[in-house]
């Protein structure tokens, strides 16, 4: 089938630009204007009329031929669009993958550098005896654990994000092992325990002392009210307690 006809292009190509002065010289005082929509509508009507007349006059064989041509053209167009779409998606996916891989590689490198730095820092502090309970930590053991963690996080075939997650998990595992005093510590426990009272107290104490919070709360009064007394309840509760003792 031939290339689809662009009516707009045909009109543009067939038309001639004539200036208003030129028209005036030619003695044209009024110009009849036909807008684009009207042109399209007239063309549609003309085409429809011709097609209807042709179809009415066509034989069954001719109709079947037209149907077959239309189907074939439709399938060609669908295939063409699909191929274009697939190409575009593939291009975008490969670009995104490349970008993610580069980012992940960079992060893996940063983590490795950080680990190396930590290893050296901890070793130094242990040597200088600045770490509380340092005698319980063997620098060599710590070093081997760090190397093990990095090895566990080596790039795999499952993709950059998996590598990164593996590295993070290894670092967390390492952190747990260090706090437990070695590989045989409590790191095997997977259940999530509620925070201890001491931990929570430490958290709140730290947040109040180290952070300078800007606030006017101490200058603003809180809503107050008085309520019925509780002495009767208290006396009753105490007498119940004494009775039960």
């Amino acid at each position: 089938m031939s290339k689809p006809l662009s009516v707009q292009d045909v009109i543009r190509q067939s038309a001639t630009d004539v200036g208003l002065d030129e028209l005036s010289r030619r003695g044209c005082r009024k110009v009849k204007v036909l807008d684009k929509q009207t042109v399209f509508r007239l063309i549609d009507e003309a085409v429809n009329r011709v097609v209807e007349e042709r179809l009415a006059a066509a034989t069954a064989q001719e109709r079947e031929q037209i149907r077959a041509e239309a189907r074939s053209e439709f399938q060609r167009l669908v295939k063409e669009r699909q191929e274009q779409l697939e190409e575009r998606v593939q291009r975008e996916v490969s670009a995104a993958t490349e970008e993610a891989r580069a980012h992940a590689d960079q992060q893996v490198q940063e983590y490795q550098e950080r680990l190396a730095q930590l290893e050296s820092q901890v070793g130094q502090e242990v040597e200088e005896g600045r770490v509380p309970g340092a005698s319980a930590i063997d620098p060599e053991l710590l070093g081997s654990m760090i190397r093990e963690a990095v090895a566990q996080a080596a790039p795999t075939s499952t993709g950059p994000s998996a590598d990164l997650a593996a590295l993070q998990q290894s670092i967390e595992a390492l952190s747990r092992k260090v706090s437990a005093g070695g590989p045989g510590g409590s790191s095997s426990s997977s259940s999530i325990e509620p925070p201890s009272e001491e931990a929570l107290q430490a958290f709140f104490s730290r947040s109040s002392s180290s952070e300078q919070v800007e606030s006017n709360i101490s200058n603003v009064e809180v809503k107050n009210a008085k309520a019925n007394g509780v002495n009767k309840n208290l006396a009753k509760l105490r007498s119940l307690k004494q009775g039960s003792e």
Binding site: P195, L200, S207, S218, V222, N224, A227, L240
Partner: protein, 381 residues
């Protein structure tokens, strides 16, 4: 009874020390119905700088919607402090900061953002048709709010102040295990215990429904059913001579009503809360908005009663009550007009397994849990 903001005025500061200059104490009396009457013209000793001493022991209601502290003075008066458990972040500049301080609005700057806390947050949210941020959800510390812990700490500091003596006992309310949600109260309980300890208190948890029993059922020898209808939950405790026989909670409360009313009316949940709190009587709804509130209240009450009944029937630890018992309803969600009537109405529809002599409102519904915690604290001194 409705406790409006006007009922809860400024002035009294539990604990030793003088009230900040310029504050005016409100002379309040509690009438027979438990409502607070105020006399704004009266200047009290606290306003003139005379210290008011409180007895050792504090009560703290850790509610999804409100935080309420209570303390008792030497004369036996119970002093309440209340903060709405909500906050809202707004654009910060010096003009706004000065203006907020002048308007007595609490703010705090967290991570470079200005956060308005307490009741003003709720009022501002309504003005700007925004939702307040809530440190707690479904009766527990919210996992979705990264700023929940620092905000809660600040709110508690304003409510409790420093302890009169290091290690002063402060009972705080915790929800009972919910029966309709997979929620764990251990973390929530631990967080508030740690928070109180960091403020110098010896925090002890008390199940919310049990606190209602302590504050409202003394004349029944602490025997009966205490119900606390809060923002995030309904807490129920069946007690026999002060010993809890059955405690549980359901995760539907005032917030559930607000969310549903907001959904059907196409408004914000904060706006729905404001409609609910403006003085609706659910036995006589006057318009479409109030009808929506009534429908969801009735459903919530029915849901709660059905759950109580089924738990009673399935529990093997239920005591045999020799006499009919009382049911007492407390909590902010019970403050709406007609709550007890609708509760009684829905109660008649189910065949309750225990003889009940009365269903009544708490004397101070909004303060009941805090007062119960206070009773528990004072009883240890």
């Amino acid at each position: 009874m409705n406790a409006s903001n006007d009922d809860l005025d400024n002035g009294f500061v539990p604990g030793e020390g003088a009230v900040a200059d310029g504050s005016v104490n409100v002379n309040e009396n509690v009438n027979e119905n438990g409502s607070v009457e105020t006399d704004c013209g009266a200047q009290s000793a606290t306003a003139t700088g005379v210290a008011t001493k409180t007895e050792l022991g504090r009560g703290l209601d850790v509610g999804t919607a409100n935080l309420v502290s209570s303390a008792q003075d030497a004369e036996g008066n119970v002093h309440i402090k209340i903060q709405r458990n909500a906050f809202l972040d707004i654009d910060a500049d010096d003009y706004t900061k000065n203006m907020l301080t002048r308007l007595n609005v609490q703010y705090v700057v967290i991570n470079g953002r200005m956060v308005v806390v307490g009741d003003p947050a709720f009022e501002l949210a309504n003005i700007f048709n925004r939702e307040t941020r809530r440190p707690m959800r479904d009766g527990m510390i919210s996992p979705d709010e990264s700023d929940a812990l620092p905000i809660e700490k600040m709110l508690l500091e304003t409510l409790l102040g420093p302890p009169t003596k290091e290690g002063e006992v402060c009972y705080y309310s915790v929800p009972a295990e919910p029966i309709d949600a997979d929620l764990n109260v251990i973390y929530h309980q631990g967080v508030f215990g740690g928070l109180l300890k960091s403020l110098g208190y010896n925090g002890k948890p008390l199940v919310e429904g049990h606190a209602v029993v302590f504050s409202e059922l003394a004349e029944d020898d602490f025997t009966g059913i205490g119900i606390s209808g809060g923002g995030g939950m309904f807490n129920i405790c069946v007690s026999y001579k002060s010993i809890p026989a059955l405690s549980f909670s359901t995760t539907r409360g005032g917030d559930w009503i607000d969310r549903n009313v907001a959904n059907v009316l196409g408004i914000s949940a904060s706006r729905a809360t404001a409609i609910k709190e403006k003085g609706v009587d659910i036995t006589r709804p006057k318009n479409r908005e109030e009808e929506a509130v009534e429908i969801y209240y009735r459903n919530l009450i029915s849901y709660t009663l059905t759950n109580i009944k089924s738990r009673f029937e399935s529990s093997s630890s239920m005591p045999n009550f020799p006499d009919p018992i009382s049911i007492v309803c407390a909590g902010g969600t019970s403050l709406i007009g007609g709550f007890i009537e609708v509760f009684q109405d829905e109660f008649k529809k189910i065949n309750f397994p225990i003889p009940v002599k009365e269903i009544r409102h708490a004397e101070d519904p909004l303060y009941s849990v805090s007062k119960g915690c206070l009773v528990a604290s004072l009883s240890e001194v």
